[in-house]
């Protein structure tokens, strides 16, 4: 039985669900931890999401499928210039204690033999590690190169 590739990343962050939701849905904050990218959307269900690189080029776009502040955000992930169809990204935010939450990122619905699936394996740990650092220390790692 072949199973479609699924990527799951769990991290615990010393922050509140409200602060994390804000970091996930505010373009200025996103560019600080998402490797310089700007993700732009109204974040309402059904609306478009665009992700532009530091030069303003559109890299990927998606549609908001679910937006349940502050616990669940789901959107499609469609890379510009690739033949593969869109995959799906889900952020699930659960409170662990008064000061700590659990963030689970699930990136799935990739086609079989997806090339994009290979590419996201290092992208997500970089982005999510940076998100955690930004929320806990006020600063994220800035890489010199665009990637």
């Amino acid at each position: 039985m072949k199973t479609k590739p699924t990527y799951v990343y769990v991290t615990y962050i010393a922050t509140t669900p409200a602060a994390l939701w804000k970091a996930l849905t505010t373009t200025d904050l996103i560019s600080q931890y998402w490797l310089g990218r700007m993700n732009i959307s109204s974040w309402k269900k059904g609306s478009i999401l665009e992700s532009r690189d530091p030069d303003g080029e559109l890299e990927w776009h998606g549609k908001i499928l679910e937006s349940k502040r502050p616990n669940r955000l789901v959107y499609t992930f469609d890379v510009v210039g690739r033949k593969e169809g869109p995959s799906r990204v889900a952020f699930d935010i659960e409170k662990h204690s008064a000061k700590v939450l659990k963030l689970t990122v699930t990136h799935d619905k990739f086609p079989d033999r997806s090339k994009i699936f290979q590419g996201i394996q290092l992208g997500w740990p970089k982005i999510l590690s940076n998100l955690k650092s930004l929320l806990e220390t006020g600063q994220a790692i800035t890489f010199a190169s665009k990637d």
Binding site: V10, T11, Y12, I13, A14, H96, S97, V100, Q121, L122, P125, K126, S129, N130, K132, S133, E136, T137, Q139, I141, T142, F143, A144, S145
Partner: protein, 154 residues
């Protein structure tokens, strides 16, 4: 054919390889982020590493590789739950890589890759460690970056 279970976790930490190695091998540090567990060893290949939790030795594993501050590997076999004693030891490997392409040259950052493998297909330990490692590694990152580990409610 089911592939053998393998757990891989990658995290980036604003620290140096030396400080991360210290945090992985000094029991005063491990106790802070590893749920109170002291990892005690001389960290030489072939030596034992004892996991001490509330004065009980809950692991008595063997160091397989030790290249400070880049690569550390040891066997993994919990001793404190009878229903798990039938499983053969698995293997944990920590790989530490330093980033050199940072925009701010005074900044330090490393990539830590933890690979936990050599489980049987029906391993009961595998789902436990898959849940445990994100707790431990998240707390380790917070300790190195803020000075305080995350303390979990169990």
């Amino acid at each position: 054919m089911n592939p053998k279970p393998k757990f891989v976790y990658v995290t980036l930490i604003t620290t140096t390889p030396e400080k991360l190695w210290e945090a992985l091998t000094n029991p005063e540090f491990t106790a802070q982020y590893w749920g109170g567990t002291r990892l005690e060893s001389d960290w030489k290949v072939g030596s034992f590493v004892d996991f001490r939790w509330r004065d009980k030795v809950v692991h008595h594993d063997t160091i397989l590789e030790s290249n400070p501050p880049r690569r550390l590997s040891y066997t993994f076999r919990p001793l404190h739950m009878e229903e798990l004693l039938g499983e053969a030891p698995s293997r944990v490997t920590f790989e530490i890589e330093e980033f050199t392409d940072l925009a701010r040259p005074e900044e330090k950052a490393v990539k830590l890759t933890v690979t936990h493998q050599e489980f049987a297909e029906d391993s009961k330990i595998f789902p436990m460690i898959s849940s445990g490692w994100p707790h431990i590694l998240s707390s380790l990152k917070t300790l190195l970056e803020t000075g305080h580990a995350i303390v979990f409610k169990w």
